[in-house]
Symmetry: C2
DNA sequence: ACTTGAACCTGACGCAACGGCAGGATTTAG
DNA sequence: CTAAATCCTGCCGTTGCGTCAGGTTCAAGT
């Protein structure tokens, strides 16, 4: 009655046809998502053409990440697909934000671990606290988009490049500190070269984006002691020294 | 024996102390992740200082998204935290890529649905096919980073701006088509204005990024018929017309 | 000492979307 | 007519707990 001699499939055939598993079709039957419109006298499931079409719709909606229950509700009566999708999109965005935050912390943690070696169980806590502090600090100074941009740039540059740049900082800081201690004039060629190198390395982070650059500077200025103590970052004096050096060259 | 008069906590106290739930502590005991080092004669759990420290480490690792089983293995014997974290990071990256792809499809789908109205069940399949095709096409012409940048820009611009820009395209295309049909010279002021408007709207997408712009142009050129039929995109002739108009103004 | 309310215990089901197995019936090819 | 393939139903396992349920113990007030 489901069709005038319409074709029909058994579970295994339908499974091969659609790339799903037999178990999945059983499951969909069980939860009332797709019940075969017929059965053989012995109880074998028989799917008609309507069923197959329905299945394809189910798969389509499933690929959008919708839960089966929602799909079922959608197929019986439609409480507005558009609204539902937008709502789902918001949910996906939340997940996305969460997993991006997780990734940030993980990256920081990996960097920290390979920088200071495997933490001796007690240090793990301290390390995580630091990682969280860094993460919070970043979040205070950068928008979600800017953080994504930073991550992007680092991915694009590749790991070895990032490590290379990171490795050059302590060296550069030491050199500048030496000149600062020696009282070298900011206008001296040596200091000018160092300042240029400094800006190049910074460029790696902000990529020329003025928004990123400003955020970076503000974070630097506001948290210089913390950065200095925890990561051997430059002191406020050093920042000022470089600033003066740049002022000389641009005047 | 666990300490010389060391302090101890009962589940509820520890729960309040750490912000976890009693059930969670029960669970950690059950799976062997954190078994209290002592019990009262009647069986109430007593956590010592060591246990509390252990718990904090567990929470720290949990916040990195590590599964409890892995955390347990880490705490008993350490199969190198650094490797483990890197491995986990790779896993997180996979999830990230998956959810980004999902988000892309969802956004496309939402846009399509609100553009053509709620699909009449049968159309849903066609729509999804189109969405997939668009997604595949985008993936062929843009790198993952570029796609992220596109999304970012749209998020930054806000939904209403995006919709506004999208709404202006058909109008602009119609106007250009009219001039094209009328055989107006590409150098005519009217056409010049339209061409400038054209470039402005395009700017909204590539945001001035040359890589994005090139990808966009290549995709346009390679898939003009498809875009034209499916989305009322401009014809190759129209593209050429605009190109000539731009050539005039830049010469 | 007695009562009462708060805190504690163990055990078990639920969730999301199936995977995988067991044990038995049926279909189909040779 | 037999053997292999396919089908059936039902149940446990997954992840990290939430949420009862039914019973015991603790701490305080009278």
């Amino acid at each position: 009655m489901t069709g005038i001699g319409g074709q029909s499939w058994k579970v295994g055939q339908l499974a091969r046809l659609t790339g799903l598993t037999v178990r999945t079709l059983h499951h969909y039957d069980q939860v009332g998502l797709l019940c075969p419109s017929a059965r053989t006298p012995s109880g074998h499931r028989l799917y008609g053409e309507q069923d197959v079409r329905g299945l394809y719709r189910i798969v389509a909606l499933r690929e959008l990440g919708l839960p089966l229950e929602v799909i079922r509700d959608l197929l019986t009566g439609e409480p507005d697909l558009a609204d539902l999708l937008r709502e789902h999109l918001a949910h996906v965005d939340q997940q996305l934000a969460a997993i991006r935050a997780l990734r940030r912390r993980l990256v920081t943690m990996v960097a920290a671990v390979q920088a200071v070696g495997p933490p001796g169980s007690a240090d793990l806590l301290v390390l995580m606290e630091e990682v969280k502090k860094v993460d919070d600090t970043m979040k205070r100074y950068f928008t979600e988009e800017q953080l994504a941009a930073l991550t992007q740039r680092h991915e694009q540059a590749g790991e070895e490049a990032t490590e290379s740049v990171m490795a050059q900082w302590p060296q550069l800081i030491a050199q500048v500190q030496a000149e600062l201690d020696a009282g070298t004039d900011p206008g001296a060629p040596k200091v000018q070269a160092l300042a240029r190198r400094w800006m190049e390395l910074l460029e790696f982070f902000h990529g020329g984006d003025p928004g990123l650059r400003d955020s970076l500077y503000r974070m630097q200025a506001d948290n210089s002691e913390m950065l200095q103590q925890q990561y051997g970052g430059p002191s406020p004096e050093m920042i000022d020294y470089i600033r003066r050096a740049n002022a000389v060259s641009s005047s």
